[in-house]
Amino acid sequence: MVFFISQSLFFIIPLLIVAIAGMFSEKSGTVNIALEGLMVIGAFCGTFFINKMQAIGFLEGAPQLLLIISMILAGIGGAIFSSLLGFLAINMRANQVIGGTALNLVGGALAIFLAKQFQPNNAVQISYDNSVFRLDSDFLAGVFPNINYIFFKQAYLTLYIGILILIVSTIVIYKTKFGSRLSACGEHPEAAQSVGINVYRYRWIGVLLSGFLGGLGGLVYALPISVSFEGTVAGYGFLALAVLIFGQWKPMRVFIAAIFFGMFKALSVTFFSFDWISDLIVQFPNVPFGTIFRILPYLATMLILALTSKRSRAPKASGIPFNFKAN
């Protein structure tokens, strides 16, 4: 059980960050279907930097600092990449779903291409040592060994950064002038414009923020679960999109949705660690449990979406290009 919770945190936190990334963009009125591509680009930038720095021994004594720098780099990579979406969706007023799909394809191809071009032997895998980033602290180890294992021993700094992003973005969206204006641009841009808000600027900020968090989320996803990045995040960006819809574009509900999906996703890799599931596998050798647990997160998403989509609270002008001259 402890192992399961610790594993599911590795899935929950990136889902949370990337879904919040999508939220910033959709709140401002741009559908960001390119989350998958943003994650790939961010993960590529971050892991490539870590790979190179670990090779030359840069910041060997301070791995957490290296992690923070590479996360910022991943975010910047994502933000630059998302400016392509911003240009397409805000300035050119093109179809955002198609543009986002194009960026997903660009992201996947670019990451593999660059990895092959800049690595010896045309290798796709960018390998890195992720064990040095583990917090590995003995805090509370004597009193609550389980909590120590989950939150301090096996955890990464990314866990706390994810929670920080959740709190900050909740405050920003609900308690600041910027947040209200951002939401106004997604709900009714004409009204926002009539009171003197520059809709284009707010949409651009929304998209760039989304790109930064999306790229960062990509690295947060790639780092703990593997020792190499292979140019794909396995449909995680789309899962985050589903989390966003299930969370009804509200940060706290997005967090709950992320926990739900993250648990299912973790179950698909750790189901054998549960005794009762192991017993079931022994009892029914003909039932393909592996396949069932792999499919389960997607099916659960579908079911939840079917139940919640009827009374959707999506930003009303999300996906509709804004034309200044037409008003």
Binding site: I33, L84, L88, M92, R93, A94, N95, V97, I98, G99, T101, A102, L103, L105, V106, G108, A109, L110, I112, F113, K116, Q117, N122, G235, F238, L241, A242, I245, P285, N286, P288, G290, T291, I292, R294, I295, Y298, L299, T301, M302, L305, A306, L307, S309, K310, S312
Partner: protein, 431 residues
């Protein structure tokens, strides 16, 4: 010596003096003719300009050229030494085939057939206002159903390949129908459902193939791929065996082109197709005018899935070169043909006939990618080019619609330049 030079100089001077008036005379005669021809060309294209397809065609050409230029620039930056050879191979594409042009065209057509189907699948959904990203999953499920019939359906005799194709269509139909159902009944966005079903389909197919029952019958354990389908289940070569010998081309390309024409007629000449298009243009208006819009959404997703499934079935049933057959590798990776369908459909502006030509272009450039590898370029460069083309075709329609504005802009620019020139000349005159 000087005299000689002078003489020669004078000779040329005289000649020049004679030539200039002559050229002017001829030019005066030719110019009206040229103007007439120009007007005729303008008129000819003007007729197209009124047609809906012209802007789309222009937009596609624009997107393709931008994509190619960007790709060439990228190659130039990365490996300047090999760039010339690489670019030549990129442009030659199909013609890189070492066995000659004929074999090259055969391979091009062979690799085009599945892509035409996935392109048609995406294009059909687009025409009815839906975005089917799930062509990949539908393709995989169709492929799986065809494999099952192709390997286990021995008792079907010479009908085996036809039944296998139909089974593939049914599989794709089912896999497209589920997102359609979710969209029509529960209003879940089809992009998310269909992308989810890519993964569900892939994991399900892989899980079923590795299950106890099928593992021994359908899968070749030594390389973790499906075994080749029975001889009777393979699509026939038809007359292509003689036309393009040893290219492996079978009749699937004919079926693909036939399907494209069929879909064109379905969308434009039948009540059913018109209703589907009406649902796509405005769901509420269609409902108001008596169309069952929920059925429309369901059917268009299902037919879209069926097309992708047909593509998968025809791919796996293809005999390939020397009748060796195709195989499906059991890896947890989503198959790419489904995703290739998206740029194809967009390049063609969702026109079913256009899909065929767009597919030829994409296959051509993909074949170039394989050929470029031997001169030190990674073949993913082609994927980048295709993605850039997709990116620009997303707003090329807007660009071509605003072509008039761009023209106006250039005219303004010209006028400005002219006035500048005049001012400059005036200054010179003053001096």
């Amino acid at each position: 010596m000087n005299n000689v030079l002078k003489k020669i100089g004078n000779f040329f001077k005289n000649l020049w003096a004679k030539i200039v008036p002559f050229v002017k005379k001829v030019w005066a005669k030719v110019l009206p003719v040229l103007k007439k021809i120009g007007k005729a060309i303008a008129k000819f294209f003007g007729r197209f300009k009124k047609a809906e397809g012209f802007n789309a065609f222009l937009g596609a050409m624009l997107a393709i050229s931008i994509g190619l230029i960007m790709g060439i620039l990228l190659m130039w930056i990365i490996k300047p030494d090999n760039a010339t050879e690489g670019i030549t191979r990129l442009i030659k594409g199909t013609l890189n085939n070492p066995n000659g042009v004929k074999a090259g065209i055969g391979v091009l057509l062979l690799s085009s057939a599945p892509l035409i189907f996935t392109g048609l699948s995406v294009a059909f959904a687009f025409k009815t206002g839906l975005f089917n990203i799930g062509a990949s999953g539908q393709y995989t499920v169709g492929l799986f159903c065809a494999v099952l019939v192709g390997i286990l359906g021995d008792s079907l005799g010479s009908f085996q390949w036809i039944v296998a194709v139909l089974a593939g269509m049914a599989g794709g139909f089912l896999w497209g129908a589920i997102p359609g159902l979710f969209k029509a009944r529960y209003n879940v966005h089809e992009v998310i459902t269909s992308i989810m079903f890519n993964y569900v389909g892939m994991y399900l197919v892989n899980g079923l193939l590795t299950s106890n029952f099928l593992k021994t019958r359908v899968v070749d354990g030594s390389n973790n791929r499906t075994i080749k389908v029975d001889q009777l289940a393979r699509t026939p070569y038809g007359f292509f065996d003689e036309l393009f010998p040893n290219s492996g081309l079978d009749i699937s390309i004919l079926i693909a082109i036939g399907t494209a024409i069929l879909i064109y007629f379905l969308l434009n000449k039948t009540v059913f197709g018109r209703e589907l298009k009406a649902v796509g243009l405005n769901r509420h208006a269609a409902k108001y005018s008596g169309v069952n819009e929920k059925k429309g959404i369901f059917m268009s997703m299902a037919i879209s899935g069926m097309l992708a499934g047909l593509g998968g079935a025809l791919f796996i049933l293809g005999p390939n070169r020397f009748n060796l057959g195709n195989a499906y590798a059991i890896e947890n990776v989503i198959l790419t043909p489904g995703f290739d369908g998206i740029p194809i459909a967009l390049l063609a502006s969702s026109n079913p006939i256009g899909v065929v030509f767009a597919t030829f272009f994409v296959s051509h450039i993909k074949l170039a990618g394989t050929a470029m590898q031997s001169v030190g370029f990674v073949k993913e460069i082609v994927d980048i080019i295709i993605a850039i083309i997709l990116y620009f075709s997303a707003f090329s329609l807007i660009l071509t619609q605003n072509l008039g504005n761009i023209k106006k802009f250039f005219h303004k620019f010209k006028r400005k330049k002219n006035t500048q020139d005049v001012a400059f000349e005036a200054k010179e005159g003053d001096e």
